[in-house]
């Protein structure tokens, strides 16, 4: 097919691209303009004269610490979710134990209970454990994941029985089989899930807001909101600069894992 012959497709594609890029562009040009001008509503669509001074201002403040907290939280959530769901899916798929079906269904129905629904009991449990206002409290309750468990279950179910049997005859025990065969075979899926879960963790708002009132534990998302909250003196270019900075780690993760990400979501051959 000659791409030039299909202008309609291109117009739609271009429209979609502009739609997605426009807010980013606004944030980027906003971060280089005079904050007072933005506050007046004079947001120019071209880069302003302030250059990257807003970034210097922001990076001198608490933003680097916030980025670090967010990064730690997102990594802990993504890795924790993967470890737990790989292990539980492995148990459900490869072992025959009493209550296996029940275990699977219990995991399954927690899909219907998102963080927001169980946030009060979760808070009370965390309070009981003394984890309010701690870094551990930020990520620990978020690392169980029915979605990821179900996804890995599908991946593991697709591993041919003969492969399991070949490994048994080769003398590989359960943990060895998990490490030597199951994980490498599911590497693409793990990578894809890691990207999704990292962004999920990075974007957490409600739970960190609730569990950590100490400003030292503010994540970058909460930090941005707090910067905006003081209406009269909002430093808009600083907010824009922080937003741009907050975007960078997820972008880096996506770019680094892009190849794996696509393979993990589309590849079906085992």
């Amino acid at each position: 097919m000659n791409p030039r012959r299909d202008p309609v497709t291109h117009v739609v594609l271009l429209f979609g691209a502009v739609l997605f890029v426009a807010p980013l562009w606004l944030a980027l040009v906003g971060s280089t303009q005079d904050p007072a001008a933005i506050a007046r509503g004079d947001l120019s669509l071209l880069p302003g004269h302030e250059g990257f001074s807003a970034y210097a201002r922001v990076l001198a403040g608490p933003v680097p610490r916030m980025l670090l907290i967010s990064l730690g939280m997102a990594l802990a959530i993504a890795i924790g979710k993967i470890v737990i769901s790989v292990l539980s899916a492995y148990a459900v798929v490869f072992f025959r134990f009493p209550g296996r079906k029940l275990a699977f269904w219990l995991i399954f129905i927690t899909l219907m209970l998102p963080v927001e629904v169980r946030i009060i009991p979760t808070y009370s449990v965390m309070a009981g454990l003394g984890l309010i206002n701690t870094f551990t409290g930020l990520w620990l309750p978020l690392i169980a994941s029915a979605t990821a468990t179900l996804l890995f279950r599908q991946v593991f179910v697709a591993i041919p029985d003969e492969l399991v049997e070949a490994a048994r005859m080769d003398g590989a025990g359960p943990l060895r089989f998990l490490w030597d065969v199951v994980l490498p075979v599911s590497a693409a899926n793990i990578a894809a899930l890691f990207v999704i879960l990292f962004i999920y963790g990075w974007n957490q708002y409600l739970w960190p807001l609730l569990v950590a009132t100490n400003p030292k534990l503010d994540t970058i998302v909460i930090g941005i909101v707090k910067m905006v909250a003081v209406e009269t003196e909002t430093d808009w270019s600083a907010v824009m600069a922080t937003a741009i900075l907050a975007l960078l780690p997820p972008v880096v993760v996506v770019l680094l894992m892009q190849r794996w990400f696509v393979a993990g979501l589309t590849e079906s051959e085992k």
Binding site: E162, E165, A166, R168, M169, D170, V185
Partner: protein, 355 residues
């Protein structure tokens, strides 16, 4: 000395009896082929020997050691799977070395044994490749190599050729036989393909609905099938069966289609009037001007020979297949005769051969 002995092996899945009573003894270096239609229990039998299934009753002895409840990896048995079951993320070398690595062999030993096996199978240049970069035949050889490299006491083959195309299958079949002879490893080979069964086995075990129908050398099975099931299963095209009755004090059969045939190899037991099934292989039916007329409905020329499908123009309209050397004769009707020296006599009621 018996290398492998199966004693009173049974297997039920719930209320379904998959294997009913298997007693089997393999001599050292012997290749025994288990053959049967799908669902006859042949794969289950192999998996029980491998340790992947536990029998409901019975014992398995390998070199007189009871291995019935021994873990598969500790049985000293290697298996070649139907779909090869190669680890997709490992190279050929790693695939072959994996079992040895788990056994804790030294790096040098592993490299030495893998290299040797790879050379034996002509895989040396592919050791660095992943399974998906190999052709079907090469993958099959890697699967064989993974079994050979472990130097097991017993090989199990689970339809290892069924995923290969016809030409390659014939070549690999011969290769497997040569290799097995050369290594002298006792082997159990499961297949549904009767040509594989005939060419590969020192002995055949024909399984039918979980029961051994016949255990004998391939030629014995072919020439003296124990019952009508074996007779129809081994040999292609399949044997023709003609209804008949026993007459003249057990010395002759009266075919429903007309002719009367005297047994030349002695009288059969049973009273006159007993119903029989007479089996005649397609290649043994003769064209005879004096014979029974056969209406031809299909001719399949195979080059060096011709298959003729038809129905007898006699009571019963029995369908018949004939294999003739050379070209098909002219006309729609043939007259055929059944030579008494090539007849198999079965009891119609039980299906058993009447000796």
């Amino acid at each position: 000395m018996a290398m492998l002995e199966l004693i009173g092996l049974r297997k039920n899945f719930g209320t379904t009896e998959v294997l009913r009573q298997i007693d089997l003894s393999l001599a050292s270096g012997e290749m025994l082929v288990i053959v049967g239609a799908s669902g006859c229990g042949k794969s289950t039998l192999l998996r029980i020997v491998a340790g992947l299934e536990t029998p409901s009753a019975g014992r398995i002895l390998l070199e007189e050691r009871d291995i019935t409840s021994v873990d598969p990896s500790a049985r000293d048995i290697a298996m070649v799977f139907q779909n090869y079951a190669l680890y997709p993320h490992m190279t050929v070398f790693e695939n072959m070395a994996y079992g040895l690595r788990i056994r804790g062999l030294s790096r040098e030993d592993i490299a030495h044994r893998v290299d040797e096996t790879a050379a034996l199978l002509g895989l040396s240049e592919f050791l660095g490749r992943k399974p998906r970069q190999l052709s079907g035949g090469q993958r099959q050889r890697v699967a064989m190599g993974r079994a050979i490299v472990r130097e097991p006491r017993l090989f199990l083959f689970d339809e290892p050729l069924s995923n290969l195309d016809a030409t390659l299958r014939v070549r690999t079949r011969a290769e497997i036989r040569r290799l097995q002879r050369r290594l002298g490893v006792t082997s159990l080979y499961v297949t549904h393909d009767q040509v594989e069964a005939m060419t590969l086995g020192d002995r055949l075990l024909v399984l039918h609905q979980g029961r051994p129908a016949q255990l004998a050398t391939p030629m014995e099975v072919f020439e003296h099938p124990a019952d009508t099931y074996v007779a129809g299963f081994i040999g292609a095209p399949a044997m023709n069966f003609l209804p008949a009755t026993l007459i003249e004090a057990g010395t002759a059969a009266k075919l429903e289609a007309g002719p009367l045939v005297h047994f030349i190899d002695g009288k059969r037991d049973g009273s006159d009037g007993k119903t029989l099934t007479i089996g005649v292989r397609p290649e043994h039916i003769r064209i005879d001007p004096e014979g029974v007329p056969l209406r031809i409905d299909l001719i399949e020329p195979l080059g060096s020979e011709t298959l003729i499908h038809g129905r007898l123009a006699a009571p019963g309209e029995t369908p018949l297949v004939i294999r003739l050397a050379g070209k098909a004769p002219e006309g729609d009707i043939l007259t055929v005769a059944f030579p008494p020296e090539q007849m198999h006599v079965f009891d119609a009621a039980t299906g058993r051969r009447l000796p």
